[in-house]
């Protein structure tokens, strides 16, 4: 299973980026085995509009089952829902801690 965590850096020890669409990186993580890929989201950081939709598209393409982030805008939220992806909100701290919290079942799907 893959989960997507938004982050300001490329490693599991990076802080979570609380913005979904304009997060610097989207980390694709296998909670059992660790980091799979750090997807560069720079293009969306600078996008004039539609950043959330594009970020959602990235998550969809990686077939992640969960997104863990701070907040998600309404359009991206709708796309993620439609794609059947579960959304864990109000993530913070480090990515590693967030993944541990996820494994402990602390995130509720929004």
């Amino acid at each position: 299973m893959h989960i997507a965590v938004t982050a300001t850096g490329q490693s599991l020890d990076s802080p979570v980026d609380e913005r979904f669409g304009r997060a610097r990186y989207i980390l694709i993580v296998d909670p059992e085995s660790g980091l799979v890929e750090a997807v560069d989201n720079q293009a969306n950081v600078n996008a004039a509009q539609g950043a959330g939709l594009n970020a959602a598209q990235i998550v969809v393409e990686w077939q992640a089952e969960w997104v863990l982030t701070g907040r998600v805008g309404p359009k991206a939220f709708a796309v993620l829902k439609e794609a059947g992806i579960k959304i864990g909100l109000e993530a913070g701290g480090l990515v590693r801690e967030t993944v541990e919290r996820f494994q402990a079942g602390e995130f509720k799907a929004s």
Partner: protein, 300 residues
């Protein structure tokens, strides 16, 4: 006699664009078209109280996808510069409010699976107030792009020999949509630091669009910003001034027109109108608008 298409803009908001536009429309003896292009907050009708004759929708084209022909290749999404298309389970979906109607997806689609349908983003109303044909654009609530509605307003300009355009404030896309291609641009300013700063921006915009322009100083006597020095240095004609007078504000506040009730205002407006007509005639006689950097009459 004043003829052609004259836009009234300002840079700064609240300098008196609409006040000038509606009073000028009433002051002119000939029939005139007044286009209220401030589609996010149209207000010329509050003063002219036109009898509306018809309304037409303002639309933008947005893509729809033919599920029979679409293979889900995603080229439409890749080519959308505005991130308006998402692809879920090989089905493209457009978010119309993000679409800028550029048509790139139609070009990109290898299967001709996309066609465009109109989406209403505003309404254009046409009516008459005496000899003034009033055209008003109104952007629907929640819409972000006003230029298409402004363009729809401009398409409804009548056969009157004089068209006045009441532009929105600022110097960005909506203002450019309202003033592009006009014969002359009147910049309304006020002698304050804000008025001057935004006048400078508006003059730069006019230069970029190569539109000849002149300045009306409204609320003259209020503040002491060097608007006249700026105009002199730029070679911009000051076409007139309207003295600061609280009675104008009082008349405005009850939706009446000072040109009808305030002789001093009428005199100043008439002087401005005469000078404007002269200036517009002069500019229309120029073979074409002067080359950048060597503008004969407008030496900026």
């Amino acid at each position: 006699m004043l003829q052609g298409t004259i836009a009234i803009a300002s840079g700064k908001g609240g300098t008196g664009k609409t006040t000038l536009a509606v009073n000028l429309a009433v002051a002119c003896e000939e029939p005139v078209s007044l286009l209220d292009c401030d589609v996010e907050a149209p207000n010329a009708h509050l003063f002219l109280r036109p009898v509306w004759e018809k309304t037409v929708p303002a639309t933008v084209p947005v893509p729809v996808f033919d599920p029979e022909k679409c293979t889900g290749c995603g080229k439409c999404r890749v080519h959308c510069r505005f991130n308006a298309v998402v692809l879920l389970n090989k089905r493209p979906e457009v978010y119309p409010e993000l679409c800028h109607s550029c048509g790139a997806c139609l070009q990109a689609c290898p299967h001709a699976a996309i066609k465009e349908v109109p989406r209403e983003t505003g309404v254009v109303a046409i009516g008459y107030s005496g000899k003034v044909r009033v055209v008003q654009g109104k952007l629907n609530v929640g819409e972000a792009q006003s230029p298409p509605v402004i363009e729809a307003v401009r398409q409804q300009a009548g056969k009157e020999k004089l068209t006045l355009i009441d532009a929105p404030p600022g110097t960005s896309c909506p203002v450019m949509a309202a003033v592009r291609g006009v014969d002359y641009l009147v910049l309304v300013t006020e002698p304050t630091p804000f008025g001057l700063n935004d006048l400078q921006l508006a003059v730069e915009m006019a230069a970029a669009l190569q539109i000849p322009c002149g300045v009306l100083i409204n609320r003259a006597g209020l503040g002491d910003s060097p608007v006249r020095q700026f105009c002199r240095a730029q070679g911009l004609p000051v076409l007139g001034e309207i003295k600061y007078d609280p009675r104008v504000a009082a008349i405005y506040s009850i939706g009446e027109l000072p040109v009808r009730t305030l002789p001093e205002f009428r005199t100043q407006l008439a002087a401005f109108l005469t000078r404007l007509a002269k200036e517009v005639t002069l500019c229309s006689r120029l073979p074409s608008f002067p080359e950048k950097g060597e503008q004969a009459r407008l030496r900026w």
